[in-house]
């Protein structure tokens, strides 16, 4: 284990702590604000269920690795997590709810700027879409739920005290469920990036149960989140719970339910897959942030009652926080990377080169991409994606999708299935067939990621992506996440990092199965 790994883990734990401190407000803020649940009960419930969610249903590499896929050195990952953590902490100190995902995305954009990497337009769409879509959808949901609850109350006419007891129980159950989901969905934001370099070994408790290295990482991250909830969450809870609008307990419950429903319906790939696989129409997946959804739902309740009670000044302060958090995390990340690289000489990225080699050209032809206008680029190697993209744009007009495909194919990313690493590889969410395929590639070297993907797909169906349909989206996403782990685990030094010798032998694709020499 590298000594630097636990040191780098601290930034993940800090991010977890800041995330926990900020997100109690999303799941219990309105319940505490309406005095239906005490802060202590909420914090303890949230703390316990966050840890359970992280360990039992931790979403593995989903989320972060998808977003942090480009961050290819642990020093860079450290600074991305630290910058996001500082931004979230800062907002928490100001008492503002903040989207952790957006803070992380902002930090990644900072990393992209520092390393002259191309920023995926989808990333920016994610940020901007969440600012608008989240609150608007949530406000609409809250109004619909309010009407529904009013009808139900009018029909059943529960006694005031009975309604109070049901609302209280509903708030607690919804809060506990929300805390569980918070742990399960956000643990990847906190610890996902450290999965390939987990410093732990499997821990067995007297044969009763065992914790894999990943589960230990997630437990640690879950505990960090729980500590954040218990130590530093009061101020944001106050903002969401009572500063925006004076709410009734029923309205508080509606906010929590609107939050859960919006997240489930507009951001659940699982639900989309379920609907598509049963031949039902799917809802568009909109990038929504849970913090923004909660604030939107509170505004919806206020608007339903004529809007006069809403404290727009507080809403404005929160909206400014949404815009500020990715900007702050991006700026901190940029400065931090500079300091880390130049003052502490810590590598914050692996330099990735781009070149149109003959195999790449052949692959481009297969994909129907134009190659003739790019003929003069064949002898050139570009040291950053931005420079390569600019060269492409100067020669040919490509659609965004085509440009992305050329960048993907031309990326020089040597991968070496080091036999020692293959032997010790333990990733619980890979299928046995996927693990076997990795073992079959032991000792082999590849020039780029796509070559590895094709080699693995050639060995087992479990690595083969299905045609791009809504039903197959989840399956393909899982394969992409698995591949991201493989790339990160077996990344070999790039030619730029080894100026005197190129250790890799470019290969077109997988070697036919058989004895390896």
């Amino acid at each position: 284990m590298e000594i630097s790994v636990p040191l780098f883990l601290i930034s993940g734990l800090f991010l977890g702590w800041a995330l926990g401190a900020n997100h109690l407000a999303n799941v219990f803020g309105t319940a505490i604000g309406t005095r239906m649940i005490t802060w202590m009960t909420a914090a303890l419930t949230c703390g316990v269920f966050v840890v359970l969610g992280a360990v039992i249903s931790g979403a593995g590499p989903s989320g972060t690795l998808g977003k942090l896929g480009a961050v290819n050195a642990i020093g860079g990952a450290f600074m991305v997590a630290l910058a996001a953590g500082i931004a979230v902490f800062w907002m928490t100190r100001l008492g503002l709810p903040v989207s952790t995902t957006q803070a992380i995305v902002g930090a990644i954009v900072g990393w992209n700027v520092f390393t002259a990497s191309v920023t995926d337009p989808g990333t920016l769409t994610h940020i901007l879409g969440a600012w608008i879509a989240g609150p608007v959808i949530a406000a609409g949901f809250a109004i619909l739920l309010l009407k529904l609850v009013s009808k139900v109350k009018r029909h059943y006419r529960p006694h005031l005290l009975r309604a109070d007891a049901y609302t209280r129980a509903g708030l607690w159950v919804a809060g506990a469920f929300g805390a569980y989901s918070l742990g399960a969905n956000n643990i990847a934001n906190v610890m996902g990036v450290f999965v390939p370099v987990s410093p732990f070994t499997t821990l067995s408790m007297g044969g009763l149960f065992s914790l894999s290295p990943v589960e230990q990482l997630f437990l640690l991250g879950g505990i960090a989140m729980a500590v954040g909830v218990l130590t530093y969450s009061r101020r944001v809870v106050h903002t969401v719970g009572s500063e925006l609008l004076d709410m009734s307990p029923t309205a508080a419950w509606i906010v929590v339910m609107a939050h859960s429903l919006v997240l489930l319906m507009f951001s659940s790939e699982g639900l989309e897959h379920f609907l598509a696989s049963h031949g039902l129409p799917t809802l568009p997946l909109v990038p929504v942030s849970s913090s923004e959804v909660v604030v939107g739902a509170v505004i919806g309740i206020g608007l339903y009652h004529s809007g006069r009670q809403i404290r727009w000044r507080s809403i404005g302060r929160i909206a400014a926080g949404w815009v500020m958090s990715p900007l702050i995390s991006g700026t901190i990340c940029l400065l931090g990377l500079f300091v880390l690289q130049n003052l502490f000489h810590v590598p914050v990225y692996r330099e990735i080169s781009f070149a149109i080699t003959p195999p790449v050209e052949a692959r481009m032809v297969t994909a129907g991409l134009p190659t003739a206008p790019l003929a003069d680029l064949q002898e050139k190697t570009f040291s950053s994606s931005v420079r390569f993209r600019d060269a492409l744009r100067a020669r040919v007009n490509l659609t965004g999708e085509q440009e992305g495909e050329v960048l993907r194919l031309a990326e020089i990313n040597p991968i070496h299935f080091d036999p020692q690493k293959v032997e010790t590889l333990s990733i619980s969410w890979l299928t046995p067939a996927q693990q076997k395929a990795i073992q079959q590639l032991s000792g082999r070297r590849f020039p780029s990621k796509w070559a590895v993907a094709e080699a693995l797909a050639g060995l087992t169906e479990d690595w083969k992506p299905l045609p791009r349909t809504t039903v197959n989206k989840l399956h393909n996403r899982q394969i992409e996440e698995g591949l991201a782990i493989v790339y990160q685990t077996f990344a070999a030094p790039t030619p730029a990092q080894m100026p005197n010798a190129c250790p890799c032998t470019p290969e077109l694709g997988p070697r036919p199965p058989g004895p390896r020499g």
Partner: protein
């Protein structure tokens, strides 16, 4: 364990609902007992039957007091209905005052033994009946506040109507008293009792006004 504690929580809620209902019953009952006592007094004066009715009103008032204190303590200890707790406590306390007024009136008749001329007895009974209908409407408005908020307005409307009727009856009665040939001391004594019987309706009107505000708050 968690399930049983939740069941216990709902069980406690049900018990508290019953106590609130019983408290409202006690307010209504105190009014009916007062009316019975008033009618007995008008016929037989301070008889044994009247004394028994006064004891019944007193017991009902004590039971109402006890129920109100229990409900208040439970609401605070279990931190129930945090947004409406103050309103509910205020409602219960003011309703309890109406019971107290009925009890106090019974004691006043018992102690001061006003000598009511025959020609005014009918109006006194009519005033008592209307005041009791008025407080009964308030009890129904209070029950609706807990169960069927939309109906509060209807019952409140009746409270205001009957309070107006009480005012008319008491004004007519007081005018008749002061137009009579009775000596001034008796006129003043009878006027005092007219106002005391009418007081329950006036208090009911104040509570109804308060309840209207609580209802608006609750429906927000």
């Amino acid at each position: 364990m968690a399930l049983s504690s939740k069941t216990a929580l709902f069980g406690r809620t049900r018990a508290l609902e019953r106590q609130i209902e019983e408290f409202l019953d006690s307010v209504s009952e105190a009014g009916l007992l007062f009316l019975r006592g008033l009618k007995i007094y008008m016929t037989d004066g301070v008889s044994e039957e009247f004394a028994e009715t006064v004891r019944d009103v007193s017991e009902t008032e004590s039971r109402g007091d006890e129920l109100r204190r229990t409900v208040e303590a439970e609401l605070y200890e279990q931190t129930l209905i945090p947004d409406l707790r103050a309103d509910v406590l205020s409602l219960l306390e003011h309703m309890d005052r109406i019971t107290g007024t009925f009890q106090a009136n019974c004691y006043r008749f018992s102690i001061e033994k006003p000598d009511i001329p025959e020609e005014f007895k009918r109006d006194f009974i009519s005033l008592g009946e209307t005041a009791v209908v008025c407080t009964d409407s308030l009890v129904m408005a209070a029950r609706a506040f807990f169960r069927n908020i939309e109906a509060v307005r209807d019952h409140n409307h009746k409270v205001l109507f009957y309070e107006g009727e009480c005012d008319k009856i008491s004004t007519k009665l007081k005018t008749a008293i002061f137009d009579s040939d009775l000596p001034l001391d008796r006129k003043l004594h009878l006027r005092y009792f007219t106002e005391r019987v009418d007081a329950a309706a006036n208090e009911a009107e104040d509570v109804a006004d308060e309840l209207a505000i609580f209802t608006i708050k609750r429906s927000l």
